[in-house]
Symmetry: C2
Amino acid sequence: MALETAKGTKDYSPEEKIVRNEVVGKLVSIFERYGFSPLDTPVLERYDVLSSKYAGGAEILKETFKLKDQGGRELGLRYDLTVPMCRYIAMNPTTKMPFKRYQIGEIFRDGPVKLGRMRQFTQVDVDVVGSKNMLADAECVNIAQTFFKDMKLDVVIEVNNRKVLDGVLDAIGVSSDKSTDVILAIDKLKKVSVKEIEKELATKGVKGKLVDELLKIFNAKGSNSDKIKKLRKIVKSDSGIEGLDEVEELFGFTKGKNVVFSVSLARGLAYYTGTVFEVFMEKGDFKSSLAAGGRYDKMIGNFIGNREVPAVGISFGLEPIGVVMKPDAVRKTVTQLYVIPIKALKEAQKICEKLRSEGLNVDIDLNDRGVSKNLDYASSYDIPYVLFVGKRELAEKKVKLRDMKTGKEKLIGLEEVSTNVS
Amino acid sequence: MALETAKGTKDYSPEEKIVRNEVVGKLVSIFERYGFSPLDTPVLERYDVLSSKYAGGAEILKETFKLKDQGGRELGLRYDLTVPMCRYIAMNPTTKMPFKRYQIGEIFRDGPVKLGRMRQFTQVDVDVVGSKNMLADAECVNIAQTFFKDMKLDVVIEVNNRKVLDGVLDAIGVSSDKSTDVILAIDKLKKVSVKEIEKELATKGVKGKLVDELLKIFNAKGSNSDKIKKLRKIVKSDSGIEGLDEVEELFGFTKGKNVVFSVSLARGLAYYTGTVFEVFMEKGDFKSSLAAGGRYDKMIGNFIGNREVPAVGISFGLEPIGVVMKPDAVRKTVTQLYVIPIKALKEAQKICEKLRSEGLNVDIDLNDRGVSKNLDYASSYDIPYVLFVGKRELAEKKVKLRDMKTGKEKLIGLEEVSTNVS
């Protein structure tokens, strides 16, 4: 038997898990500051819920892990957190709206495994269900802005509106049967060259002046309000104008020059109905999005089948955030102090208990090892301070504290340990 | 299609999830104070790992959810967190010992569903791997003591040692082929009457004077050290004496009169080799254990097949803790303040942003509702304070704060909100 992880899954070592917990902790604290509450749904769902007509769709079902319980019931591992949330709302019809929930959970997709694409991964979702107000959309944007600022990451939060995009295509004369193809081509603007986009559009029958106009609109420079003004001259459909009103309203609730109106932002998923947003690194080679979301006013209503339930949300990608994050953005060790008893285990243990009751994270040598092995151990777990507890020093109520970074040691009073370490 | 959860699984509503997060948060904070670090392993494991000879055993395999990935590989949903930890240690042979890890994760067992027994549930495990020192065992006990004190629950932490139990049986003349049966019968002392135990022992051929002696030993009163002294007169085998030495050493590292030497504590599982402990409510009708664990010095070594790896750990049951916990032990809402704009949405949003940047959890009306509907909403989500933001009051830099519990309202300055709410 090979002692291995299942294909497409991985362990998180303490070092990795501490970092991940810190990132998730920051997100949770911001979600809660914005008035969102946690929800938890099971990993196992009934297969007929996952395969429902308005759920994730045929493509995602191909990648769904399917299994049966002892009673022969068909089950699946959830492939997102949105379908379970829809089911929860359907099962709890008295839920007060707006329902502001966040959920952090494991997601499973039995697809091809490559760098950054696992079969089990963690999704971090925050959604407002039951409000059409653009302030809800703005809260998603502002949460992202707060989080990335907190992480000391310089990002650009691109914002667009599907209705505006449709309005633009309509205005320059792209027929509605081609609009989906055009949107999908446009969505690649960040990743491939303009030439390639032109080529792809040409195969869809969109070329010449149309393409020039499109690119002119998408490449327009200026402030968000400049861009809105320019588009007001082009977009004429009712829906397009509504979209521009929404964008303007949304920008009224956000601030900071890194929230940018990006008319070419499309996002692949079909279910978005209004605002879409996506967060990228401002500079550097990392082009994948760090967070993304948008407004989906039809999906939940369709899914539960009996009423209109507008919704907007954003999802954070722990994997890409892990790739770009600054090494010093979060703590990497939870243990603050490692105690080495010098023939004084009982006394050292009592000191540990006291420091712990003061809120310090304290480990102690359990294996009666020599000093150098103990220092190795503390250093291998990146513990910043070591405390030597010896009988001679204790007689004078003193202990020796070593700063593992500098190697400096000093004799201090027992009551001084806490303040010297934290 | 029925929009339902899969059999044996449940959702955690925000109210339930907030409470659960608080309990887990307390546990994590205590684990980290004792120098434990988090580990995370996947929900999906290779089936051959789960079904390995030294893993959970045949009984547990019958309840293991089994599935295949697209490549036809046999997988299973993990049924505990111990086997994945063993696999992790086997795959990471340079892990520095002792390895002190905690893990919180979903566990799956496809067994009969009844009250308090689900097919998906959360396990909270903390283990010291790689130390034989009784201080490691004591840390598990002390963690439990700290946690339940923090939760304001009066519990008894019963401690025993398998070697002592074997030593007692040996001393009174129970033949070793009967000792497992006797231990299993004894384990029921808490749940069934002495009569029933006597009956069960009789069918195993253990009766008369033997049973009387057993019950005399198990019912002996006195302090922990009294009991140890009494047993030193009875137990004669080397292993039994070693067990008593261990118990004595362990009690030297613990304190408080709720840590009790309970010679009849056996615990069903076969893999324990020394210390066992189990936490019960001191009074009341709730007889299930709230936390339990023990020392298992052989299991990991057997599992990974090449070296001796002693270990001790304790597992906390979130479900039983949820049943007995005091209603006021943890917070039940994360949102502290709900803002109702009176025709002043923009201004109210700015105030929200400021309060959030001060660390307050703030929600705001997103649906432009009237005052009474808004108060209903705040009250349905148990939000303790409501802030009315109106233009007239704002002109004097004032806002109106309502305490939802008392219904009292007062006009305060903008800069006073934070201190009035938190």
